[in-house]
C-alpha cells in the first residue's frame, strides 16, 4: 500500500508542478506582452510627436519664408510679422524633434540635418531681410534668385518626409508584433487552461482510483483476516490432533512393548524356580514323593511352558517392532503426485480379494464413474486395499456379503464410501478401530491391529481423513475424504 500512496503523491505532485508551470508561463507571457504594449504605445506617441514636430517645423519655415517674400515685395514691416513670430516657435519645434530623435536612433541623423537645414534657411532669410533693410533691395532679390533658400526648403521637405516614413514604418511594425503577441497570448492562455483542466482531471482520477484501491485493499484485508482465523483454527485442530495421536501412539507402543517384556522376565524367573525344584530333586539322597512329582511336573510342563511363552513373547515383540518400523518407514516415504483413477485402484484391490469374495459368496460393486484424484498411487492402493480387505474379512456369517463402493466429487474434495453389510462395529469402538494394535469385536479373525491405523495415517498424510459409521450387526461404511489434488508439502501432520 505504501507503493500505492507514494505513487499517488508523486503523480499528484507532478501534476501540481505542471499546472503551476503552465500558470507561471501564462503570467510571464502576459507580463511580457504588457511591457511590449507599453513600449508600443510610447513608440506610437513618439511617432505622433515626431509627425507634429515635423509639420510644425515645415509650417514655421513656410510662414517665415512667406513673411520674407511679402516684405521683400512690399517693403512694409507688417508683412514681416509671420517671420518674427516663427523664429521663437521654430526653436521650440526643433527641440521637440531633437528630444524625440534621441529616443529613436534611426532618425537622429535626419533630425540633425533638419536642424542644420532649418538654421541655414533662417540664416538666408535673415540675411536677405537685413540686406533689404539696409536699402539694397536688388541685392536682396538677387540673393533670393540664387535659389539657395528654395533648395533648402525642398531638402527640408524631403528629409521630413523621410523621418515621417521611418516613424510610420516603425509604428506599423510594432503594431504587427503586438498583434502577433496578443494572438500568442490567447493561444497560450487557451492551451494552458486546457492543460490545467486536464491535469486537474488526472489528479482527480488518481485520487479517485487510489481511494478505490484503498477500499478494495481494506476489503481484501478484511476477508484475509476472516480466512486467516479459519486457517489458524484449522491448523490448530490439525496440530492438536497430531499431538493427541503422538501421545496415544507413545502410550500404546509403551504398553504393548511392555507386556511381552513382563512375560519374558516372568517366565525366566519361573525357569529359575523350576531349576531350583529340579536341583532339590537331584540333590536329595532319597527324593520324597512330593519332590519327585514336582520335578516331573517341572520337567514335563513348567519348563516347556515357560520356554513357549518366552519364545512367543519374543516373536510378538519382534512383530510389534516390525509393525512400528513399517509405519515409520511409510510415514517417511516420499509421496509422488500423479493422476490416479480410483476406479482402476478399486478394481485392482477387489481382484486381489476375488478368491475370498467368491468363497464367501459375496459381491463387490464398483461403479465405472469413480472420480480421479492427483495423489500418491501407492498410498491410495494401500488405503482402499486395506478397507476392502477388512470389509471382506468381517462379513456377517448369516447373510450373503454385499460391498458397495460409491464416490462423489464436490468443492475440490473427493469422497469415497465403502459400505458393507458385515458384522459392524459397536459405537464405542468406532474410534478405537483406527488405533494402533487395537481391534474391535470378537477376535475370531487373524490380524495385528495395524491396517486401519495405517490407513488413517496415510489418508491424513494425503490431506484427507478416514471415518466410519456403523451399526453393530448391520454393517459399516468407511468414508475416505481426499483432496482432489494433494499438496505434497502437507506432510507435517503425520505421526
Amino acid at each position: 500500500m505504501s507503493i500505492l500512496s507514494s505513487n499517488l503523491a508523486r503523480n499528484t505532485l507532478s501534476l501540481m508542478a505542471a499546472g503551476t508551470l503552465v500558470l507561471i508561463s501564462i503570467m510571464l507571457f502576459s507580463f511580457w506582452l504588457a511591457n511590449a504594449t507599453r513600449d508600443s504605445v510610447k513608440l506610437v506617441e513618439t511617432g505622433r510627436d515626431v509627425r507634429i514636430a515635423a509639420s510644425m517645423i515645415l509650417t514655421d519655415l513656410i510662414d517665415a519664408e512667406t513673411g520674407q517674400r511679402g516684405y521683400l515685395l512690399t517693403g512694409r514691416d507688417e508683412y514681416l510679422q509671420p517671420y518674427e513670430a516663427t523664429k521663437a516657435h521654430l526653436t521650440e519645434s526643433l527641440s521637440l524633434l531633437r528630444s524625440r530623435a534621441r529616443e529613436t536612433p534611426e532618425i537622429s541623423r535626419d533630425a540633425k540635418k533638419i536642424d542644420e537645414l532649418a538654421a541655414a534657411k533662417m540664416q538666408e532669410l535673415t540675411r536677405t531681410i537685413e540686406i533689404y533693410r539696409s536699402g539694397n533691395r536688388d541685392e536682396a532679390i538677387s540673393l533670393v534668385q540664387t535659389d539657395q533658400g528654395k533648395k533648402a526648403m525642398d531638402e527640408v521637405r524631403v528629409v521630413l518626409d523621410r523621418i515621417i516614413k521611418v516613424m510610420n514604418q516603425r509604428v506599423g511594425d510594432n503594431l504587427g508584433h503586438l498583434e502577433t503577441s496578443a494572438r500568442r497570448l490567447s493561444w497560450v492562455t487557451t492551451i494552458g487552461g486546457l492543460s490545467i483542466g486536464v491535469f486537474s482531471a488526472l489528479a482527480f482520477y488518481f485520487v479517485a482510483s487510489y481511494t478505490r484501491s484503498l477500499v478494495e485493499a481494506r476489503h481484501e484485508v478484511q476477508s484475509l483476516n476472516e480466512t486467516l482465523e479459519e486457517r489458524v483454527a484449522d491448523r490448530t485442530t490439525a496440530l492438536s490432533r497430531a499431538n493427541d495421536e503422538i501421545q496415544r501412539f507413545a502410550y500404546i507402543v509403551s504398553h504393548d512393548l511392555r507386556a511381552p517384556l513382563v512375560n519374558i522376565m516372568g517366565f525366566t524367573s519361573e525357569l529359575e524356580v523350576g531349576t531350583s525344584s529340579l536341583k532339590s530333586y537331584f540333590d536329595a539322597e532319597e527324593p520324597t514323593q512330593d519332590q519327585t512329582e514336582a520335578a516331573k511336573r517341572t520337567a514335563e510342563q513348567d519348563i516347556p511352558e515357560a520356554l513357549h511363552f518366552i519364545r512367543a513373547s519374543t516373536s510378538k515383540m519382534d512383530g510389534l517392532i516390525g509393525a512400528i518400523l513399517k509405519l515409520s518407514r511409510e510415514g517417511r516415504r516420499e509421496l509422488k503426485r500423479e493422476r490416479v483413477d480410483l476406479h482402476a485402484v478399486m478394481t485392482q484391490a477387489a481382484s486381489t480379494l476375488q478368491h475370498q469374495v467368491d468363497s464367501a459368496g459375496a459381491t463387490i460393486e464398483i461403479p465405472d464413474d469413480l472420480p480421479s484424484v492427483v495423489a500418491d498411487r501407492l498410498a491410495l492402493e494401500q488405503i482402499f486395499g486395506n478397507i476392502l480387505d477388512n470389509a471382506v474379512k468381517y462379513l456377517a456369517q448369516d447373510r450373503p456379503g454385499r460391498i458397495t463402493v460409491t464416490g462423489e466429487e464436490a468443492g475440490g474434495r473427493v469422497r469415497i464410501k465403502i459400505a458393507d453389510n458385515g458384522r459392524g462395529i459397536d459405537e464405542k469402538d468406532m474410534e478405537r478401530v483406527f488405533e494402533l494394535f487395537r481391534r474391535a469385536g470378537s477376535q475370531n479373525r487373524p490380524g495385528e491391529g495395524v491396517g486401519l491405523a495405517h490407513v488413517r495415517a496415510l489418508a491424513r498424510r494425503l490431506g484427507g481423513d478416514v471415518t466410519v459409521t456403523s451399526k453393530l450387526g448391520e454393517g459399516s461404511t468407511f468414508e475416505v475424504d481426499l483432496p482432489k489434488k494433494t499438496r505434497m508439502k502437507d506432510t507435517s501432520a503425520e505421526t
Partner: protein, 150 residues
C-alpha cells in the same frame, strides 16, 4: 441385607488378553495359597458374554460371589468399557473389580476409581515386583469378604 460369602466360595473372573500374563498371575495367586476357581478370558467380548449372560442382564450370575480381575488393554474393547458395564449392572455392581494393568497413567487410574473400580494395581515390569504384587493380592483375596450378587 445381602449375604456375604467366605473367600473360599469366591470365583475369580480373570480378563487378561495376554496368555503369558494370565498364566503368571494364576501361578502367583496359587503360590499365595489361594485355591479359588479362576475363570480366564482372553478378550472383553467373551468375558462380558459370560458375566452378563446371553440376555445381557447379568441375571445368570445372580447370587454368586464374583471377583473380577481386569486388564485395561484388551484387543477388542477397553477394560474401562467393561468396568463401566459391570458397575452399571444392577446384579454385578457390588462385585469387587480389581484393575491389574501395565498402564500407570494418573488420569486413567482416577477414571477407573471414578467408575467404581475397587483396587487399581500396576503390573511392574520387574518380575519380582510383579510376583510380589500378585502374591499380596492373593493374600488379600483370602481374607476379604465378597458380597453375593443380587
Amino acid at each position: 441385607m445381602p449375604d456375604t460369602t467366605k473367600a473360599d466360595h469366591v470365583t475369580i473372573v480373570m480378563i487378561e488378553d495376554d496368555e503369558g500374563h494370565a498364566r503368571l498371575i494364576e501361578r502367583n495367586i496359587r503360590r499365595a495359597g489361594v485355591t479359588n476357581e479362576i475363570i480366564p478370558f482372553a478378550d472383553g467380548t467373551t468375558a462380558l458374554e459370560y458375566l452378563l449372560g446371553p440376555d445381557g442382564t447379568g441375571v445368570n450370575n445372580a447370587r454368586r460371589a464374583l471377583l473380577v480381575l481386569l486388564d485395561l488393554n484388551l484387543p477388542d474393547t477397553t477394560g474401562v468399557a467393561i468396568l463401566e458395564k459391570l458397575k452399571s449392572n444392577q446384579h454385578l455392581k457390588r462385585s469387587p473389580v480389581v484393575i491389574l494393568t501395565t498402564t500407570d497413567d494418573e488420569r486413567e487410574i482416577q477414571r477407573c476409581y471414578d467408575l467404581g473400580a475397587n483396587v487399581y494395581i500396576t503390573k511392574p515390569v520387574n518380575y519380582e515386583g510383579f510376583a510380589n504384587a500378585i502374591r499380596q493380592f492373593g493374600m488379600f483375596v483370602s481374607v476379604m469378604q465378597v458380597p453375593t450378587t443380587d
